[in-house]
Symmetry: C2
Subunit: 305 residues, 2 copies
Amino acid sequence: MLEEVTVLAPATVANLVCGFDILGLALEEPCDKLTIRKTRRGIRIINLDGYNLPLEPEKNVIGGALLAMLEETREEIGFEIESTKVIKPGSGIGSSAASAAGAVIAANHLLKQPFSTSDLIRFAMCGEQVASGAKHADNIAPAIMGGVTLIRSSFPLDIIGIPAPPLFVTILHPQIEIKTSNAREILKKEILLKDAAIQWGNVAGLVAGLMKGDYELISRSLVDVIVEPIRSILIPGFDLVKTVSLETGALGGGISGSGPSVFMLSHDLVTARKVEAAIIQAYSGLNIDFHTHVSTINNQGVRFI
Amino acid sequence: MLEEVTVLAPATVANLVCGFDILGLALEEPCDKLTIRKTRRGIRIINLDGYNLPLEPEKNVIGGALLAMLEETREEIGFEIESTKVIKPGSGIGSSAASAAGAVIAANHLLKQPFSTSDLIRFAMCGEQVASGAKHADNIAPAIMGGVTLIRSSFPLDIIGIPAPPLFVTILHPQIEIKTSNAREILKKEILLKDAAIQWGNVAGLVAGLMKGDYELISRSLVDVIVEPIRSILIPGFDLVKTVSLETGALGGGISGSGPSVFMLSHDLVTARKVEAAIIQAYSGLNIDFHTHVSTINNQGVRFI
Protein backbone atom coordinates (compact mmCIF):
# COMPACT_ATOMS: atom_id res chain seq x y z
CA MET A 1 0.00 0.00 0.00
CA LEU A 2 3.04 2.25 -0.20
CA GLU A 3 2.78 2.88 -3.89
CA GLU A 4 1.70 6.40 -4.68
CA VAL A 5 2.16 8.95 -7.41
CA THR A 6 1.57 12.68 -7.66
CA VAL A 7 0.60 14.50 -10.85
CA LEU A 8 -0.09 18.03 -11.99
CA ALA A 9 -3.13 18.22 -14.28
CA PRO A 10 -3.37 21.35 -16.43
CA ALA A 11 -6.12 23.81 -17.18
CA THR A 12 -7.26 23.78 -20.80
CA VAL A 13 -9.01 26.02 -23.30
CA ALA A 14 -11.76 24.33 -25.34
CA ASN A 15 -13.77 25.76 -28.26
CA LEU A 16 -10.73 27.45 -29.77
CA VAL A 17 -12.56 30.34 -31.50
CA CYS A 18 -13.71 28.91 -34.88
CA GLY A 19 -13.00 25.38 -33.58
CA PHE A 20 -16.23 25.04 -31.59
CA ASP A 21 -16.51 21.52 -30.14
CA ILE A 22 -13.34 20.33 -31.90
CA LEU A 23 -10.19 22.32 -31.04
CA GLY A 24 -8.61 22.82 -27.61
CA LEU A 25 -5.24 23.49 -26.01
CA ALA A 26 -3.50 22.81 -22.71
CA LEU A 27 -2.11 25.58 -20.49
CA GLU A 28 1.14 25.39 -18.55
CA GLU A 29 -0.70 26.79 -15.54
CA PRO A 30 -2.78 26.68 -13.41
CA CYS A 31 -2.62 22.96 -12.58
CA ASP A 32 -4.50 20.81 -10.10
CA LYS A 33 -2.38 18.50 -7.91
CA LEU A 34 -3.47 14.92 -7.33
CA THR A 35 -1.74 12.28 -5.23
CA ILE A 36 -3.07 8.76 -5.78
CA ARG A 37 -2.35 5.59 -3.76
CA LYS A 38 -3.29 2.01 -4.52
CA THR A 39 -5.62 0.50 -1.89
CA ARG A 40 -7.31 -2.89 -1.54
CA ARG A 41 -10.72 -1.74 -2.77
CA GLY A 42 -13.05 1.17 -3.36
CA ILE A 43 -12.37 4.80 -4.09
CA ARG A 44 -11.69 7.29 -1.34
CA ILE A 45 -11.41 10.98 -2.18
CA ILE A 46 -9.76 13.48 0.12
CA ASN A 47 -10.18 17.15 -0.76
CA LEU A 48 -7.23 19.32 0.27
CA ASP A 49 -8.84 22.52 -0.95
CA GLY A 50 -11.80 24.66 0.01
CA TYR A 51 -14.17 23.79 -2.82
CA ASN A 52 -16.16 21.15 -0.92
CA LEU A 53 -16.62 18.96 -3.98
CA PRO A 54 -18.68 15.79 -3.35
CA LEU A 55 -16.78 12.89 -1.76
CA GLU A 56 -19.05 10.08 -3.02
CA PRO A 57 -17.20 8.57 -6.01
CA GLU A 58 -20.35 8.45 -8.15
CA LYS A 59 -20.88 12.18 -7.71
CA ASN A 60 -17.24 13.19 -8.07
CA VAL A 61 -15.38 13.75 -11.36
CA ILE A 62 -12.31 11.86 -10.14
CA GLY A 63 -14.52 9.07 -8.86
CA GLY A 64 -16.48 8.84 -12.11
CA ALA A 65 -13.29 8.54 -14.14
CA LEU A 66 -11.67 5.95 -11.85
CA LEU A 67 -14.83 3.86 -11.55
CA ALA A 68 -14.88 3.62 -15.35
CA MET A 69 -11.27 2.50 -15.30
CA LEU A 70 -11.79 -0.04 -12.51
CA GLU A 71 -14.63 -1.61 -14.48
CA GLU A 72 -12.10 -2.61 -17.13
CA THR A 73 -9.39 -3.69 -14.67
CA ARG A 74 -8.98 -7.31 -13.71
CA GLU A 75 -7.02 -6.49 -10.56
CA GLU A 76 -8.92 -6.32 -7.27
CA ILE A 77 -7.79 -2.89 -6.18
CA GLY A 78 -8.93 0.55 -5.16
CA PHE A 79 -7.55 4.08 -4.97
CA GLU A 80 -7.17 6.80 -2.40
CA ILE A 81 -6.89 10.26 -3.94
CA GLU A 82 -5.77 13.51 -2.36
CA SER A 83 -7.01 16.31 -4.58
CA THR A 84 -5.79 19.88 -4.39
CA LYS A 85 -7.77 21.92 -6.86
CA VAL A 86 -6.14 25.13 -8.06
CA ILE A 87 -8.29 25.50 -11.17
CA LYS A 88 -11.49 27.07 -9.90
CA PRO A 89 -14.60 25.03 -10.77
CA GLY A 90 -16.87 26.85 -13.21
CA SER A 91 -14.14 29.15 -14.53
CA GLY A 92 -14.33 27.76 -18.06
CA ILE A 93 -10.76 26.51 -18.29
CA GLY A 94 -11.40 22.82 -17.81
CA SER A 95 -11.44 22.40 -14.05
CA SER A 96 -13.34 19.10 -14.10
CA ALA A 97 -11.31 17.82 -17.05
CA ALA A 98 -8.08 18.39 -15.10
CA SER A 99 -9.39 16.30 -12.19
CA ALA A 100 -10.47 13.49 -14.49
CA ALA A 101 -7.35 13.57 -16.67
CA GLY A 102 -4.98 13.70 -13.71
CA ALA A 103 -6.75 10.80 -12.00
CA VAL A 104 -6.67 8.42 -14.96
CA ILE A 105 -3.06 9.19 -15.90
CA ALA A 106 -1.90 8.67 -12.30
CA ALA A 107 -3.97 5.51 -11.81
CA ASN A 108 -2.74 4.04 -15.08
CA HIS A 109 0.81 4.63 -13.89
CA LEU A 110 0.15 2.80 -10.60
CA LEU A 111 -1.36 -0.09 -12.59
CA LYS A 112 1.81 -0.23 -14.75
CA GLN A 113 0.25 1.38 -17.89
CA PRO A 114 -2.26 -1.22 -19.07
CA PHE A 115 -4.37 1.39 -20.88
CA SER A 116 -3.83 3.37 -24.09
CA THR A 117 -4.21 7.15 -24.35
CA SER A 118 -7.49 6.54 -26.12
CA ASP A 119 -8.72 4.36 -23.20
CA LEU A 120 -7.67 7.02 -20.70
CA ILE A 121 -9.56 9.71 -22.60
CA ARG A 122 -12.61 7.47 -22.61
CA PHE A 123 -12.42 6.92 -18.82
CA ALA A 124 -11.83 10.62 -18.15
CA MET A 125 -14.90 11.46 -20.26
CA CYS A 126 -16.94 9.44 -17.76
CA GLY A 127 -15.62 11.84 -15.14
CA GLU A 128 -16.70 14.81 -17.26
CA GLN A 129 -20.15 13.25 -17.46
CA VAL A 130 -20.45 13.49 -13.69
CA ALA A 131 -19.72 17.23 -13.87
CA SER A 132 -21.74 18.27 -16.90
CA GLY A 133 -23.99 15.37 -17.81
CA ALA A 134 -22.23 15.00 -21.16
CA LYS A 135 -19.28 12.84 -22.16
CA HIS A 136 -17.33 15.53 -23.99
CA ALA A 137 -13.61 15.36 -24.73
CA ASP A 138 -13.00 19.04 -25.54
CA ASN A 139 -10.93 19.65 -22.41
CA ILE A 140 -9.98 16.05 -21.63
CA ALA A 141 -8.05 15.59 -24.88
CA PRO A 142 -5.65 18.54 -24.45
CA ALA A 143 -5.33 17.86 -20.68
CA ILE A 144 -4.13 14.32 -21.37
CA MET A 145 -2.20 14.83 -24.62
CA GLY A 146 -0.93 18.39 -24.15
CA GLY A 147 -0.55 20.96 -26.94
CA VAL A 148 -3.35 21.69 -29.38
CA THR A 149 -5.77 18.83 -30.00
CA LEU A 150 -8.42 18.20 -32.62
CA ILE A 151 -11.45 16.05 -31.91
CA ARG A 152 -12.06 15.04 -35.52
CA SER A 153 -14.95 12.85 -34.47
CA SER A 154 -16.71 12.23 -31.17
CA PHE A 155 -18.50 9.05 -32.26
CA PRO A 156 -16.29 7.13 -32.76
CA LEU A 157 -13.72 9.13 -30.81
CA ASP A 158 -10.84 10.26 -33.05
CA ILE A 159 -8.37 12.68 -31.51
CA ILE A 160 -5.45 14.19 -33.41
CA GLY A 161 -2.53 16.22 -32.05
CA ILE A 162 -2.00 19.41 -34.05
CA PRO A 163 1.65 20.58 -34.04
CA ALA A 164 1.79 24.26 -33.09
CA PRO A 165 4.44 26.95 -32.77
CA PRO A 166 5.05 28.67 -29.41
CA LEU A 167 1.96 30.57 -28.28
CA PHE A 168 1.27 32.58 -25.15
CA VAL A 169 -2.16 32.74 -23.62
CA THR A 170 -3.65 35.59 -21.61
CA ILE A 171 -6.65 34.50 -19.54
CA LEU A 172 -9.31 36.77 -18.06
CA HIS A 173 -11.60 35.14 -15.53
CA PRO A 174 -14.53 37.41 -14.65
CA GLN A 175 -16.01 36.21 -11.34
CA ILE A 176 -19.45 35.50 -12.73
CA GLU A 177 -21.26 32.21 -13.18
CA ILE A 178 -22.26 30.81 -16.57
CA LYS A 179 -23.84 27.38 -16.56
CA THR A 180 -22.61 25.22 -19.45
CA SER A 181 -26.20 24.11 -19.99
CA ASN A 182 -27.36 27.75 -20.39
CA ALA A 183 -24.45 28.55 -22.70
CA ARG A 184 -25.56 25.64 -24.86
CA GLU A 185 -29.27 26.43 -24.78
CA ILE A 186 -28.87 29.93 -26.20
CA LEU A 187 -27.12 28.65 -29.32
CA LYS A 188 -29.27 28.39 -32.43
CA LYS A 189 -29.85 24.79 -33.48
CA GLU A 190 -29.78 25.84 -37.14
CA ILE A 191 -27.22 28.06 -38.81
CA LEU A 192 -26.79 29.41 -42.33
CA LEU A 193 -24.81 27.21 -44.72
CA LYS A 194 -22.93 30.29 -45.90
CA ASP A 195 -21.86 31.07 -42.32
CA ALA A 196 -20.85 27.44 -41.77
CA ALA A 197 -18.66 27.60 -44.89
CA ILE A 198 -17.00 30.78 -43.56
CA GLN A 199 -16.40 28.94 -40.28
CA TRP A 200 -14.84 25.85 -41.83
CA GLY A 201 -12.63 28.06 -44.01
CA ASN A 202 -11.31 29.57 -40.80
CA VAL A 203 -11.00 26.18 -39.10
CA ALA A 204 -8.94 24.94 -42.06
CA GLY A 205 -6.88 28.14 -41.98
CA LEU A 206 -6.25 27.80 -38.26
CA VAL A 207 -5.05 24.19 -38.55
CA ALA A 208 -2.85 25.10 -41.54
CA GLY A 209 -1.52 28.18 -39.72
CA LEU A 210 -0.67 26.19 -36.60
CA MET A 211 1.06 23.42 -38.57
CA LYS A 212 2.96 25.91 -40.76
CA GLY A 213 3.89 28.07 -37.77
CA ASP A 214 2.39 31.00 -39.70
CA TYR A 215 1.28 33.48 -37.04
CA GLU A 216 -0.32 35.83 -39.56
CA LEU A 217 -2.49 33.03 -40.87
CA ILE A 218 -3.35 31.92 -37.33
CA SER A 219 -4.39 35.48 -36.56
CA ARG A 220 -6.55 35.87 -39.68
CA SER A 221 -8.22 32.52 -38.96
CA LEU A 222 -9.14 33.27 -35.33
CA VAL A 223 -12.66 34.33 -36.29
CA ASP A 224 -15.89 32.73 -35.07
CA VAL A 225 -19.03 33.82 -36.92
CA ILE A 226 -21.30 31.21 -35.33
CA VAL A 227 -20.95 30.82 -31.56
CA GLU A 228 -19.11 33.87 -30.26
CA PRO A 229 -21.66 36.45 -31.49
CA ILE A 230 -24.29 34.68 -29.37
CA ARG A 231 -22.39 33.49 -26.30
CA SER A 232 -20.39 36.68 -25.86
CA ILE A 233 -23.54 38.48 -24.67
CA LEU A 234 -23.24 36.38 -21.48
CA ILE A 235 -19.84 37.92 -20.71
CA PRO A 236 -19.95 41.59 -19.68
CA GLY A 237 -17.28 43.62 -21.49
CA PHE A 238 -16.36 40.86 -23.93
CA ASP A 239 -16.19 43.13 -26.97
CA LEU A 240 -14.12 45.68 -25.07
CA VAL A 241 -11.67 43.01 -23.90
CA LYS A 242 -11.28 41.67 -27.41
CA THR A 243 -10.81 45.11 -28.92
CA VAL A 244 -8.09 46.22 -26.48
CA SER A 245 -6.36 42.84 -26.81
CA LEU A 246 -6.18 43.04 -30.60
CA GLU A 247 -5.06 46.67 -30.41
CA THR A 248 -2.29 45.60 -28.03
CA GLY A 249 -1.03 42.95 -30.45
CA ALA A 250 -2.88 39.74 -29.58
CA LEU A 251 -3.27 37.35 -32.51
CA GLY A 252 -6.90 36.78 -31.56
CA GLY A 253 -8.95 34.90 -29.03
CA GLY A 254 -12.42 34.32 -27.70
CA ILE A 255 -14.47 32.57 -25.07
CA SER A 256 -12.71 29.72 -23.26
CA GLY A 257 -15.01 26.71 -23.30
CA SER A 258 -18.46 28.05 -22.58
CA GLY A 259 -17.04 30.89 -20.46
CA PRO A 260 -16.93 32.98 -18.42
CA SER A 261 -13.16 32.99 -18.96
CA VAL A 262 -11.84 34.76 -22.06
CA PHE A 263 -8.49 33.88 -23.63
CA MET A 264 -6.22 35.74 -26.02
CA LEU A 265 -3.29 34.23 -27.94
CA SER A 266 -0.05 36.11 -28.52
CA HIS A 267 3.15 35.42 -30.43
CA ASP A 268 5.44 36.10 -27.47
CA LEU A 269 5.45 36.49 -23.70
CA VAL A 270 6.04 40.25 -23.76
CA THR A 271 2.95 40.80 -25.90
CA ALA A 272 0.86 38.40 -23.77
CA ARG A 273 1.82 40.42 -20.67
CA LYS A 274 0.95 43.70 -22.41
CA VAL A 275 -2.38 42.20 -23.41
CA GLU A 276 -2.94 41.21 -19.78
CA ALA A 277 -2.20 44.80 -18.66
CA ALA A 278 -4.59 46.20 -21.27
CA ILE A 279 -7.33 43.79 -20.19
CA ILE A 280 -6.82 44.70 -16.51
CA GLN A 281 -7.10 48.36 -17.33
CA ALA A 282 -10.20 47.91 -19.47
CA TYR A 283 -11.96 45.50 -17.09
CA SER A 284 -11.29 47.65 -14.04
CA GLY A 285 -13.90 50.03 -15.44
CA LEU A 286 -16.58 47.37 -14.92
CA ASN A 287 -18.02 46.58 -11.52
CA ILE A 288 -17.02 42.90 -11.67
CA ASP A 289 -14.28 41.07 -9.77
CA PHE A 290 -11.83 39.30 -12.01
CA HIS A 291 -8.51 37.49 -12.20
CA THR A 292 -6.03 37.38 -15.07
CA HIS A 293 -2.97 35.32 -15.78
CA VAL A 294 -0.56 34.50 -18.58
CA SER A 295 0.57 30.98 -19.53
CA THR A 296 2.45 29.24 -22.31
CA ILE A 297 0.97 26.21 -24.00
CA ASN A 298 1.64 22.97 -22.13
CA ASN A 299 2.91 20.46 -24.68
CA GLN A 300 3.10 17.59 -22.22
CA GLY A 301 -0.36 17.37 -20.68
CA VAL A 302 -0.62 15.83 -17.20
CA ARG A 303 2.87 15.44 -15.72
CA PHE A 304 4.38 13.50 -12.81
CA ILE A 305 6.15 15.27 -9.96
CA MET B 1 4.02 40.85 -82.80
CA LEU B 2 6.20 37.77 -82.73
CA GLU B 3 5.99 37.30 -79.02
CA GLU B 4 3.84 34.36 -78.09
CA VAL B 5 3.63 31.79 -75.36
CA THR B 6 1.83 28.46 -75.01
CA VAL B 7 0.54 27.08 -71.74
CA LEU B 8 -1.22 23.97 -70.49
CA ALA B 9 -3.97 24.80 -67.99
CA PRO B 10 -5.08 21.92 -65.78
CA ALA B 11 -8.44 20.52 -64.79
CA THR B 12 -9.25 20.91 -61.10
CA VAL B 13 -11.45 19.37 -58.45
CA ALA B 14 -13.32 21.87 -56.25
CA ASN B 15 -15.46 21.19 -53.17
CA LEU B 16 -13.08 18.55 -51.85
CA VAL B 17 -15.66 16.42 -49.97
CA CYS B 18 -16.02 18.12 -46.54
CA GLY B 19 -14.24 21.21 -47.93
CA PHE B 20 -17.31 22.65 -49.68
CA ASP B 21 -16.50 26.07 -51.17
CA ILE B 22 -12.98 26.11 -49.66
CA LEU B 23 -10.76 23.17 -50.70
CA GLY B 24 -9.69 22.20 -54.23
CA LEU B 25 -6.87 20.44 -56.05
CA ALA B 26 -5.25 20.53 -59.47
CA LEU B 27 -5.04 17.48 -61.76
CA GLU B 28 -2.06 16.59 -63.93
CA GLU B 29 -4.47 15.89 -66.78
CA PRO B 30 -6.54 16.72 -68.74
CA CYS B 31 -5.20 20.18 -69.63
CA ASP B 32 -6.42 22.87 -72.02
CA LYS B 33 -3.83 24.34 -74.39
CA LEU B 34 -3.69 28.09 -74.95
CA THR B 35 -1.32 30.00 -77.21
CA ILE B 36 -1.34 33.76 -76.63
CA ARG B 37 0.25 36.51 -78.76
CA LYS B 38 0.62 40.18 -78.00
CA THR B 39 -1.24 42.41 -80.47
CA ARG B 40 -1.71 46.16 -80.78
CA ARG B 41 -5.18 46.23 -79.29
CA GLY B 42 -8.34 44.29 -78.47
CA ILE B 43 -8.87 40.63 -77.72
CA ARG B 44 -9.27 38.08 -80.49
CA ILE B 45 -10.20 34.52 -79.59
CA ILE B 46 -9.65 31.61 -81.96
CA ASN B 47 -11.21 28.29 -80.98
CA LEU B 48 -9.25 25.27 -82.19
CA ASP B 49 -11.75 22.79 -80.81
CA GLY B 50 -15.32 21.78 -81.52
CA TYR B 51 -17.05 23.37 -78.53
CA ASN B 52 -18.17 26.55 -80.34
CA LEU B 53 -17.64 28.74 -77.28
CA PRO B 54 -18.55 32.42 -77.82
CA LEU B 55 -15.90 34.52 -79.59
CA GLU B 56 -17.01 37.92 -78.21
CA PRO B 57 -14.54 38.69 -75.40
CA GLU B 58 -17.30 39.86 -73.03
CA LYS B 59 -19.10 36.51 -73.37
CA ASN B 60 -15.99 34.33 -73.25
CA VAL B 61 -14.19 33.17 -70.10
CA ILE B 62 -10.75 33.91 -71.56
CA GLY B 63 -11.99 37.29 -72.72
CA GLY B 64 -13.51 38.14 -69.36
CA ALA B 65 -10.27 37.35 -67.56
CA LEU B 66 -8.03 39.25 -69.99
CA LEU B 67 -10.33 42.29 -70.11
CA ALA B 68 -10.03 42.49 -66.31
CA MET B 69 -6.25 42.33 -66.65
CA LEU B 70 -6.07 44.93 -69.43
CA GLU B 71 -8.08 47.36 -67.31
CA GLU B 72 -5.18 47.41 -64.85
CA THR B 73 -2.45 47.52 -67.52
CA ARG B 74 -0.90 50.81 -68.59
CA GLU B 75 0.42 49.38 -71.84
CA GLU B 76 -1.64 49.90 -74.98
CA ILE B 77 -1.82 46.29 -76.10
CA GLY B 78 -4.13 43.47 -76.99
CA PHE B 79 -4.03 39.67 -77.21
CA GLU B 80 -4.78 37.01 -79.76
CA ILE B 81 -5.57 33.64 -78.17
CA GLU B 82 -5.73 30.22 -79.76
CA SER B 83 -7.68 28.00 -77.40
CA THR B 84 -7.75 24.23 -77.63
CA LYS B 85 -10.11 22.93 -74.99
CA VAL B 86 -9.56 19.37 -73.87
CA ILE B 87 -11.48 19.71 -70.60
CA LYS B 88 -15.10 19.35 -71.62
CA PRO B 89 -17.28 22.31 -70.57
CA GLY B 90 -19.85 21.32 -67.94
CA SER B 91 -17.96 18.24 -66.78
CA GLY B 92 -17.42 19.57 -63.26
CA ILE B 93 -13.63 19.53 -63.31
CA GLY B 94 -13.02 23.24 -63.78
CA SER B 95 -13.18 23.67 -67.56
CA SER B 96 -13.87 27.42 -67.44
CA ALA B 97 -11.32 27.91 -64.65
CA ALA B 98 -8.62 26.31 -66.81
CA SER B 99 -9.35 28.74 -69.66
CA ALA B 100 -9.26 31.74 -67.33
CA ALA B 101 -6.19 30.60 -65.38
CA GLY B 102 -4.23 29.69 -68.50
CA ALA B 103 -5.04 33.02 -70.13
CA VAL B 104 -3.95 35.22 -67.22
CA ILE B 105 -0.75 33.26 -66.53
CA ALA B 106 0.25 33.40 -70.21
CA ALA B 107 -0.68 37.07 -70.60
CA ASN B 108 1.22 38.02 -67.45
CA HIS B 109 4.29 36.28 -68.88
CA LEU B 110 4.03 38.24 -72.14
CA LEU B 111 3.73 41.47 -70.10
CA LYS B 112 6.91 40.51 -68.18
CA GLN B 113 5.15 39.49 -64.93
CA PRO B 114 3.74 42.76 -63.59
CA PHE B 115 1.01 41.01 -61.60
CA SER B 116 1.07 38.93 -58.40
CA THR B 117 -0.52 35.50 -58.04
CA SER B 118 -3.27 37.16 -56.05
CA ASP B 119 -3.90 39.65 -58.91
CA LEU B 120 -4.00 36.83 -61.44
CA ILE B 121 -6.54 34.91 -59.37
CA ARG B 122 -8.64 38.05 -59.16
CA PHE B 123 -8.57 38.52 -62.97
CA ALA B 124 -9.32 34.85 -63.60
CA MET B 125 -12.31 35.06 -61.27
CA CYS B 126 -13.75 37.69 -63.66
CA GLY B 127 -13.50 35.01 -66.33
CA GLU B 128 -15.35 32.55 -64.09
CA GLN B 129 -18.04 35.18 -63.66
CA VAL B 130 -18.69 35.08 -67.41
CA ALA B 131 -19.24 31.32 -67.22
CA SER B 132 -21.27 30.99 -64.04
CA GLY B 133 -22.35 34.47 -63.01
CA ALA B 134 -20.33 34.20 -59.79
CA LYS B 135 -16.76 35.23 -59.05
CA HIS B 136 -15.69 32.04 -57.31
CA ALA B 137 -12.08 30.94 -56.85
CA ASP B 138 -12.70 27.26 -56.03
CA ASN B 139 -11.18 26.01 -59.29
CA ILE B 140 -9.13 29.10 -60.19
CA ALA B 141 -6.93 28.84 -57.09
CA PRO B 142 -5.70 25.26 -57.64
CA ALA B 143 -5.44 25.81 -61.44
CA ILE B 144 -3.07 28.75 -60.89
CA MET B 145 -1.20 27.59 -57.79
CA GLY B 146 -1.24 23.81 -58.29
CA GLY B 147 -1.54 21.25 -55.50
CA VAL B 148 -4.24 21.48 -52.86
CA THR B 149 -5.51 24.98 -52.11
CA LEU B 150 -7.60 26.44 -49.32
CA ILE B 151 -9.76 29.49 -49.82
CA ARG B 152 -9.74 30.62 -46.20
CA SER B 153 -11.79 33.67 -47.05
CA SER B 154 -13.47 34.87 -50.23
CA PHE B 155 -14.00 38.47 -49.07
CA PRO B 156 -11.24 39.52 -48.77
CA LEU B 157 -9.64 36.81 -50.85
CA ASP B 158 -7.16 34.73 -48.81
CA ILE B 159 -5.77 31.63 -50.49
CA ILE B 160 -3.40 29.20 -48.78
CA GLY B 161 -1.45 26.33 -50.33
CA ILE B 162 -1.87 23.13 -48.33
CA PRO B 163 1.16 20.79 -48.58
CA ALA B 164 -0.02 17.29 -49.48
CA PRO B 165 1.55 13.88 -49.95
CA PRO B 166 1.29 12.08 -53.33
CA LEU B 167 -2.34 11.34 -54.21
CA PHE B 168 -3.88 9.70 -57.25
CA VAL B 169 -7.28 10.73 -58.53
CA THR B 170 -9.77 8.57 -60.39
CA ILE B 171 -12.37 10.62 -62.25
CA LEU B 172 -15.74 9.40 -63.50
CA HIS B 173 -17.53 11.74 -65.88
CA PRO B 174 -21.11 10.60 -66.52
CA GLN B 175 -22.32 12.26 -69.73
CA ILE B 176 -25.22 14.08 -68.12
CA GLU B 177 -25.77 17.78 -67.59
CA ILE B 178 -25.98 19.40 -64.16
CA LYS B 179 -26.30 23.18 -64.10
CA THR B 180 -24.21 24.75 -61.34
CA SER B 181 -27.17 27.01 -60.55
CA ASN B 182 -29.47 23.99 -60.03
CA ALA B 183 -26.86 22.22 -57.93
CA ARG B 184 -26.74 25.30 -55.72
CA GLU B 185 -30.49 25.81 -55.54
CA ILE B 186 -31.20 22.37 -54.09
CA LEU B 187 -28.91 22.96 -51.13
CA LYS B 188 -30.60 23.90 -47.87
CA LYS B 189 -29.87 27.46 -46.83
CA GLU B 190 -29.91 26.41 -43.17
CA ILE B 191 -28.12 23.44 -41.66
CA LEU B 192 -27.93 21.98 -38.16
CA LEU B 193 -25.16 23.35 -35.95
CA LYS B 194 -24.35 19.81 -34.87
CA ASP B 195 -23.86 18.76 -38.50
CA ALA B 196 -21.73 21.83 -39.17
CA ALA B 197 -19.50 20.91 -36.21
CA ILE B 198 -19.11 17.38 -37.62
CA GLN B 199 -18.16 18.93 -40.96
CA TRP B 200 -15.55 21.30 -39.55
CA GLY B 201 -14.07 18.45 -37.52
CA ASN B 202 -13.56 16.61 -40.80
CA VAL B 203 -12.24 19.73 -42.56
CA ALA B 204 -9.68 20.17 -39.78
CA GLY B 205 -8.84 16.45 -39.95
CA LEU B 206 -8.40 16.61 -43.72
CA VAL B 207 -6.04 19.60 -43.56
CA ALA B 208 -4.06 17.97 -40.72
CA GLY B 209 -3.98 14.64 -42.59
CA LEU B 210 -2.73 16.26 -45.79
CA MET B 211 -0.04 18.26 -43.98
CA LYS B 212 1.07 15.25 -41.90
CA GLY B 213 0.99 12.94 -44.91
CA ASP B 214 -1.26 10.68 -42.84
CA TYR B 215 -3.31 8.73 -45.39
CA GLU B 216 -5.43 7.04 -42.72
CA LEU B 217 -6.44 10.40 -41.31
CA ILE B 218 -7.13 11.77 -44.80
CA SER B 219 -9.35 8.78 -45.44
CA ARG B 220 -11.30 9.10 -42.18
CA SER B 221 -11.78 12.83 -42.81
CA LEU B 222 -13.16 12.48 -46.35
CA VAL B 223 -16.75 12.65 -45.12
CA ASP B 224 -19.33 15.27 -46.14
CA VAL B 225 -22.51 15.27 -44.05
CA ILE B 226 -23.89 18.52 -45.52
CA VAL B 227 -23.68 18.81 -49.30
CA GLU B 228 -23.08 15.33 -50.69
CA PRO B 229 -26.24 13.75 -49.23
CA ILE B 230 -28.28 16.32 -51.20
CA ARG B 231 -26.33 16.82 -54.41
CA SER B 232 -25.55 13.16 -54.94
CA ILE B 233 -29.19 12.54 -55.88
CA LEU B 234 -28.44 14.44 -59.12
CA ILE B 235 -25.82 11.84 -60.10
CA PRO B 236 -27.23 8.44 -61.04
CA GLY B 237 -25.28 5.62 -59.43
CA PHE B 238 -23.31 7.88 -57.08
CA ASP B 239 -23.70 5.65 -54.03
CA LEU B 240 -22.75 2.57 -56.03
CA VAL B 241 -19.64 4.26 -57.42
CA LYS B 242 -18.57 5.36 -53.97
CA THR B 243 -19.19 1.95 -52.45
CA VAL B 244 -17.19 0.02 -55.04
CA SER B 245 -14.39 2.60 -54.90
CA LEU B 246 -14.03 2.31 -51.13
CA GLU B 247 -14.21 -1.48 -51.34
CA THR B 248 -11.42 -1.38 -53.93
CA GLY B 249 -9.17 0.66 -51.64
CA ALA B 250 -9.88 4.32 -52.44
CA LEU B 251 -9.23 6.68 -49.51
CA GLY B 252 -12.50 8.44 -50.21
CA GLY B 253 -13.98 10.92 -52.62
CA GLY B 254 -17.13 12.66 -53.71
CA ILE B 255 -18.66 15.03 -56.20
CA SER B 256 -16.17 17.14 -58.18
CA GLY B 257 -17.31 20.75 -58.01
CA SER B 258 -21.06 20.66 -58.48
CA GLY B 259 -20.83 17.54 -60.64
CA PRO B 260 -21.60 15.54 -62.65
CA SER B 261 -18.01 14.25 -62.37
CA VAL B 262 -17.15 12.11 -59.37
CA PHE B 263 -13.59 11.80 -58.03
CA MET B 264 -11.92 9.25 -55.80
CA LEU B 265 -8.53 9.66 -54.12
CA SER B 266 -6.07 6.80 -53.75
CA HIS B 267 -2.71 6.33 -52.08
CA ASP B 268 -0.99 4.95 -55.19
CA LEU B 269 -1.39 4.61 -58.93
CA VAL B 270 -2.10 0.88 -58.86
CA THR B 271 -5.02 1.39 -56.49
CA ALA B 272 -6.33 4.36 -58.49
CA ARG B 273 -6.34 2.18 -61.64
CA LYS B 274 -8.13 -0.63 -59.80
CA VAL B 275 -10.69 1.90 -58.58
CA GLU B 276 -11.15 3.05 -62.18
CA ALA B 277 -11.74 -0.55 -63.29
CA ALA B 278 -14.26 -1.10 -60.50
CA ILE B 279 -16.10 2.09 -61.42
CA ILE B 280 -16.19 1.12 -65.10
CA GLN B 281 -17.64 -2.25 -64.21
CA ALA B 282 -20.23 -0.78 -61.87
CA TYR B 283 -21.24 2.09 -64.14
CA SER B 284 -21.58 -0.12 -67.20
CA GLY B 285 -24.72 -1.49 -65.59
CA LEU B 286 -26.38 1.91 -65.97
CA ASN B 287 -27.70 3.19 -69.25
CA ILE B 288 -25.51 6.31 -69.23
CA ASP B 289 -22.46 7.12 -71.35
CA PHE B 290 -19.39 7.94 -69.31
CA HIS B 291 -15.64 8.52 -69.39
CA THR B 292 -13.08 7.74 -66.72
CA HIS B 293 -9.46 8.65 -66.25
CA VAL B 294 -6.72 8.58 -63.64
CA SER B 295 -4.41 11.50 -62.81
CA THR B 296 -1.85 12.48 -60.23
CA ILE B 297 -2.10 15.82 -58.46
CA ASN B 298 -0.51 18.64 -60.42
CA ASN B 299 1.71 20.56 -58.00
CA GLN B 300 2.67 23.22 -60.51
CA GLY B 301 -0.62 24.62 -61.82
CA VAL B 302 -0.59 26.19 -65.29
CA ARG B 303 2.69 25.37 -67.04
CA PHE B 304 4.55 26.71 -70.05
CA ILE B 305 5.43 24.48 -73.00
